[in-house]
């Protein structure tokens, strides 16, 4: 185990190991071959190692990248298609939504589509409205797709390897704000995967459940530290890791323990993943009295350019802290915790 591996290194190792393990795995996308090695350098060195037939630069043709991925996947290959920004998947939505996601179903189960669509994106860099969207809810809404959004280098590597071995189309969404984060990762060649569809409790707690994924997980952990210090609140942080299918069981188990839920993401709140999770938890926990549920998400606007405006629209640690306090205050059943939160509510 190495304890300080960059997220981008972990992702590259996953691709490298899976290409070495299975010759059906190949990569295609814009500018992914050397010397460029991808806009974010995730594939750097791989075309030199495996050849340009297995690490293929494509024209700027998102429809063809995804469509050819589908065609190759249903005829015996295991393509990993890279879309430079998740925003550009909009151009190829038919191939993602009505082809990749539905072929297995429409064929009555004859064909499967072992295709991974790697993409990256996210806010926080003044990339403005067309280069920083969190579009996971679009894909979350589509039966037949899996959506994976790791938060740590360990998970990123294990999940990418699992996604490549999965027989379903997977949107593997890497949040670029995490690329330079570091964390423990097993040694190269030490084969491990992280199962799709399983959440991970990144911090245990008894007072409130915070459900998050991707970079918001890190903000949730920071929020939890602050709440512990300032409020004596012990928050449990559930990292979904796989957004679809989401791990209902783990979320519900945590919620039954804490009785309070805050779902947090950086995608717009309206129609977001958080809405589905909040509603499901509410429906499934109707037997519980005194439950409190809240959502944190971006304000309903495209991502603005100026840093202070972007920060205003996109939530982070502070919004999670505020939401937890408001939630606990509303519940009122946490005694001192609730009162402390109530005092602050005016300031929130």
């Amino acid at each position: 185990m190495r304890d300080n591996v960059l997220m981008r290194e972990a992702l590259r190792e996953a691709l490298d190991e899976e290409m070495a393990r299975d010759e059906r795995v190949f990569l295609m996308g814009e500018d992914i071959a050397d010397p460029m090695g991808g806009s974010y350098k995730i594939t750097l060195g791989l075309s030199t190692k495996y050849g340009k037939h297995r690490v293929r630069n494509t024209p700027i043709s998102e429809i063809a990248i995804v469509g050819a991925g589908v065609g190759a996947a249903i005829t015996g290959m295991r393509p990993v298609a890279e879309i430079m920004y998740v925003d550009f998947l909009e151009v190829a939505m038919d191939q993602v939504v009505s082809q990749a996601a539905k072929i297995r179903y429409m064929s009555g189960g004859q064909l499967s589509v072992p295709l991974v669509i790697r993409c990256q994106g996210g806010p926080g860099r003044s990339a403005a409205a067309q280069h920083s969207q969190m579009l996971e809810a679009w894909f979350f809404h589509v039966p037949g797709l899996k959506v994976v959004m790791p938060s740590t280098p360990y998970d990123a590597k294990g999940l990418l390897k699992a996604a490549i071995r999965d027989d379903n189309p997977v949107i593997f969404f890497e949040q670029n704000g995490l690329y330079n984060t570091r964390g423990p990762v097993p040694d190269p060649g030490e084969d491990y995967t992280v199962p799709l569809g399983k959440a991970d409790i990144k911090r245990e707690g008894k007072d409130v459940t915070i459900v998050a994924y991707a970079q918001m997980t890190l903000f949730a952990l920071q929020a939890a530290e602050q709440l512990a210090k300032e409020d004596g609140v012990e928050a449990e942080v559930v990292d979904l890791r796989t957004v679809s299918p989401w791990d209902k069981e783990t979320v519900l188990r945590s919620f039954r323990k804490t009785g309070a839920l805050v779902v947090a993401h950086q995608a717009v709140r309206q129609g977001g993943v958080g809405a589905e999770i909040a509603a499901t938890v509410y429906e499934e926990a109707l037997d519980l009295v005194d439950v409190e549920i809240a959502r944190v998400g971006a304000k309903f606007a495209p991502t603005p350019f100026a840093p202070h405006l972007e920060r205003y629209v996109i939530p982070g640690k502070d919004e999670i802290v505020a939401a937890v306090r408001t939630t606990l205050e509303r519940g009122g059943r946490f005694g001192a915790v609730g009162q402390a939160a109530a005092q602050r509510a005016g300031a929130v």
Partner: protein, 331 residues
């Protein structure tokens, strides 16, 4: 309206009688399947939409006749003909149209989505143009796996202005993928005439823009289509890259069964019906390999019996259990 030119390369063909009869039978199977399906649809027995390929049989059969069983095709919303020409049994075709358990897709797909991996049918498709990049991907898979298969994309004239057309063909061209792109130009996309959406006299002129060969073919002349397809398929199999074929043809029915097709003159329909690909090929067989009324009767009767049995099979097949609606969302 642009009149289709007859292929001037017709002399190349050496169709023997057995092959000719096989191709003829495939056309008759498509014709009778489509006519029967139209009657059933008019009686309200088939759910959904139905797009008939009557009049276009020579394109499906000419191209699929040049393919092997392990070659791939992607097809369109008007796909029955392609799939039958590739070898599909009429029983499972009808069963899918009826939405039964025994259909190719267990009733989960229907007329617009028939797939059969065994026959290399990677799917009819409800989205115009979508099969083109998928066929390019099948071609890429063939190239990477190092087999000598070929992937064919069928599409209509309506698909030629989609992004998928441009992106898919260009990708196949730059990577020399073993693909054949077959435009079934039946002169209309729903109500829109082909010349309204194309400023050049033939789509094949675009082939030059992709750096690949293009060939304009009389799509109602089975021999011409077969020849052109053989050239394109051979080229693809030899690793020389894709070809764009434009086959001019005509659909006798409207866009869908029930469409009164008010956008086209009756004389035009008559003009094309007089160029029915089936009697045209009969005439060719008479001249080149021998064919008489008794041969004709034998084929039509055998196919009629097959159609009747297939419909019976479909009607007697069980409905797909409702639980299946939640099966196969994921592998």
């Amino acid at each position: 309206m642009t009149r289709p030119k007859r292929s001037d390369k017709k002399g190349e063909t050496r169709l023997d009688r057995t092959t000719a009869l096989d191709l003829y039978t495939r056309m008759v199977r498509i014709r009778q399947f489509e006519e029967k399906a139209a009657r059933l649809y008019e009686q309200g027995l088939l759910p959904g939409f139905l797009h008939s390929s009557v009049g276009q049989e020579a394109v499906a059969v000419g191209v699929c006749g040049a393919l092997r069983k392990d070659d791939y095709i992607t097809s369109t919303h008007r796909g029955h003909g392609h799939i039958i020409a590739k070898g599909a049994g009429l029983d499972r075709m009808f069963a899918e149209l009826y939405g039964r358990e025994t259909g190719f897709n267990r009733g989960l797909g229907g007329s617009m989505h028939i797939m059969d991996f065994e026959l290399g049918v990677l799917g009819a498709n409800g989205i115009v143009g979508a099969g083109i990049p998928i066929a390019a991907g099948a071609g890429l898979s063939i190239q990477l796996r190092g087999t000598d298969q070929v992937a064919v994309a069928f599409f209509g004239d309506g698909a030629i202005n989609t992004g998928a057309f441009h992106e898919g063909i260009n990708l196949a061209a730059i990577w020399d993928l073993p693909c054949v792109f077959v435009c079934e130009n039946n002169l209309y996309a729903e109500s829109t005439p082909q010349e309204y959406v194309l400023r050049i006299p033939a789509l094949t002129e675009r082939a030059r823009g992709y750096g690949i060969p293009g060939e304009l073919v009389d799509g109602n002349d089975l021999v011409a289509v077969y020849d052109a397809a053989r050239r394109a398929v051979e080229r693809a199999r030899a690793g020389k890259g894709p070809t764009l074929l434009e086959c001019r043809t005509y659909r006798w029915y409207g866009h869908y069964i029930g469409d009164p097709a008010v956008y086209r003159p009756q004389e035009e329909v008559e003009y094309w019906k007089a160029r029915d690909p089936i009697p045209r090929f009969e005439a060719w067989m008479k001249e080149h390999v021998g064919f008489d009324d008794a041969d004709r009767e034998a084929v039509w009767q055998a196919v009629a019996a097959e159609v009747e049995a297939a419909v019976k099979f479909a009607e007697e097949s069980p409905l797909t259990p409702v639980e299946a609606a939640l099966d196969c969302v994921y592998s």
